[in-house]
Amino acid sequence: MTHQDTTQQQAAWAEESVVEHDAGTSYPAHATPGTEHTGREQLVLERIERARRARPRVREKLITLAHGAGGKATQSLIEAIFLDAFRNPLLEPLEDAATLTAGDTRLAFTTDSYVVSPLFFPGGNIGDLAVNGTVNDLAVSGARPAHLSAGFILEEGFPVEDLRRIVASMSAAAAAAGVSIVTGDTKVVQRGKGDGCYINTAGVGLITGGLTLGVATARPGDVVIVSGPVGDHGITILLERGELDLDAELVSDTAPVHELVRGLLDAVGPDVRAMRDATRGGVATILNEVATAAGVAVVVDEESVPVRPEVRGACELLGIDPLYVACEGRIVTIVDPSAADAAVAALRAHPLGAGATAVGRVAEDPPGLVLLKTGFGGTRIIDLLVGDPLPRIC
């Protein structure tokens, strides 16, 4: 056929990628056809697991949006670029906050940058988000949040009135969380070089009691609890951008969780293995971190995951899974089975935890995977996303 005679090129990057992969790793020979089916599939699964455990690398030449979405691309960037360069025992656990010791005092130290668009949304704005986010990272590390820093990157032409509103919200959020903003910085960039206003906050908090929390401490049998409906913040932002022509009575869940966490720790402290706030990447990303860090399986029951009907509806329309959608005032906690009921009760005693519920369990096998028992009655895995969830075509 004549049309096949036209110039043909090779996709050089793909060929290189295959060669590189074959050279850098030694896998058992590919399963030969004809051997027993399940055995062959099992061989392939093991091969994939080895490939996944290989050292993460950033193969892209340029940073893409996926590197900031909280999924696999973000993880590779952190491990292959940042951790590789900065490696030290305090950073290495990659928890929400680092635990420092100063004399007899244990401190939690964390930082986070906020680039949300739009800056103002139902339920909050970039200002209270920037305070609550850092307060929450401290709180889930078992610390009492104490002091925050605030850095502002403002774009030329940004209305001062908007900045006043943002700062007022920050001030109110700090008061509500019992923290003070004690140092800061301001930079202004040329018009077009920023998106109005970016904020960075860092925070320190005091760790009292002898708690050692960490996702790596999860054990088979432990119970997974979420503190309320998931996905409210992410869907609120998506709808507020107005690209979808969808309306819903939905507000962001942005809130400081320090009191909620305190209530939980006071009730069942020694039985809490880990806490995380389910921000970027949602509950699914946290559970994957648990499975990987502790070398366990996490089994989630889809029907028990609390999701508001508005959030579920929007997710159904867009073909995205609420388990990956960001929250800003929800925690996920892993507790010893003997304390599960008491933990749920302690969370429910606080208004922010009124919707707290157990959603799953830690299991032994298959290590490193998060499994979902679907409402339909089947089983599938919940993997890390590569980048942002992309809406499907049809």
């Binding site: 994939i48 996926a66 980048g387």
Partner: protein, 379 residues
């Protein structure tokens, strides 16, 4: 949620699964192809295979719109995005699809203006808002999305918008199914027909499948119970010695399709003599192009395209996967060199692609999971 939960009822699924098991002839193995990527997604997302006896295997077909787009067309689209003063618009699924020189995401990182839209009408809106730019819509998809592209061109023409065009890559499912039926290396017992496509073209275009190839086909909806029921209907046809087109998705699919939509498509587009499908090669009369009358809205006529064909990487077995000859995990690079982070083949990109669906949702041993869940329910 209404109109969703009814079709995901576990109790009904169990009842249906029992009826399916009872209809299977002992010792016989059944292979049904779900043509549409949306079905593949549903099957994995809900863990539907847990309900099917081992003697039934579902084979994933070519109906994933981004999976069948050859790399050369992606390069052409990126070349369009690189033209001065052009805004390229695309569905989200398309953003990560690799061409010979990378994807839309890579191109956007390198400085082109590529925006994600949810509908071609959003692209038209961007054209109205940016009169000094030329806005191109990356039109892809099968008959499901073609009418909305056609309606958008008609609207642009009616409004006299001059800075808008489409890069037309619309393909048609019937020639692709025919290509699969003609391929010698596949033995199928029947088809789960594409529901969304059928809302537009109806069920009549499939009549050649039982008539000429002797295979039953059941047009199916996209909820898990829809698919289970379609499997049941296919088994019933086989058990009763029937072979025909049946419509499981009658709540949405009219037998004769949507004539208004078909008229709009016929007004704006015409058949291409041939078009390349990734993995399947050139298929004649399998795709659409913009008619001369609407040439003003055709990016292929507006700009010079490189039009270079890019060969699939040698290690990539997307073609065999798309034809259902190989299961995703049987491909040599599956999950190692080819992953959702670094997809070599298109089947690993879209969540409707068979490889991505298996990798993201089904990458575990069902046998071992059954043992685990039995243990934990005892504990």
């Amino acid at each position: 949620m209404r109109f969703v939960d009814e079709y995901r009822d576990a109790e009904k699924a169990r009842a249906l699964a029992a009826k399916i098991a009872a209809l299977c002839e002992p010792g016989r193995h059944y292979k049904f192809m779900e043509v549409c990527g949306g079905h593949t997604h549903t099957i994995y997302k809900h863990g539907l295979e847990d309900y099917l006896p081992e003697s039934i295997s579902l084979v994933h077909g070519p109906g994933c719109p981004v999976c069948v787009l050859p790399m050369g067309r992606v390069d052409d689209a990126i070349a369009l995005a690189e033209q001065p003063d052009v805004i390229m618009t695309s569905f989200g699924d398309m953003m990560r699809v690799p061409g010979g020189r990378g994807s839309f995401f890579d191109s956007s990182a390198a400085g082109t203006d590529i925006r994600m839209v949810y509908s071609p009408l959003d692209a038209l809106k961007i054209a109205r808002q940016n009169p000094d730019k030329h806005v191109i819509f990356m039109a892809i998809g099968m008959e499901t999305t073609t009418p909305s592209t056609a309606m958008t061109v008609l609207r642009a023409a009616a409004e006299g918008i001059e800075n808008f065009s489409i890069f037309c890559n619309h393909v048609m499912i019937v020639p692709a199914i025919k290509a699969i039926l003609d391929s010698p290396d596949l033995r199928l017992d029947g088809f789960i027909g594409p529901g969304h496509v059928s809302t537009v073209i109806g069920c009549r275009p499939y009549e050649y499948i039982p008539a000429e190839y002797g295979k039953p086909i059941v047009t199916a909806g996209f909820e898990p119970l829809d698919i289970l029921q379609s499997v049941y209907m296919l088994l019933q046809q086989l058990a009763e010695g029937r072979c025909e087109v049946e419509n499981q998705y009658a709540r949405v699919v009219p037998w004769n399709g949507n004539t208004v939509a078909l008229r709009a498509v016929a007004e704006v587009m015409e058949l291409r003599p041939y078009f390349e499908w990734r993995g399947l090669g050139f298929i004649s009369h399998s795709a659409l192009q913009v008619r001369e009358k609407y040439a003003a809205f055709d990016a292929e006529r507006h700009f010079r395209l490189p039009g270079v064909r890019v060969a699939d990487p040698k290690a990539c077995q997307c073609g065999e996967v798309l034809k259902g000859v190989l299961k995703p995990w049987e491909c040599k690079v599956f999950g190692t060199a080819c992953t959702p982070e670094m997809p070599i083949g298109t089947c690993m990109v879209s969540s409707e692609g068979a490889c991505a669906a298996y990798y993201n949702f089904g990458r575990f041993s069902r046998q071992r999971i059954r043992e685990v869940s039995i243990e934990s329910s005892r504990a």
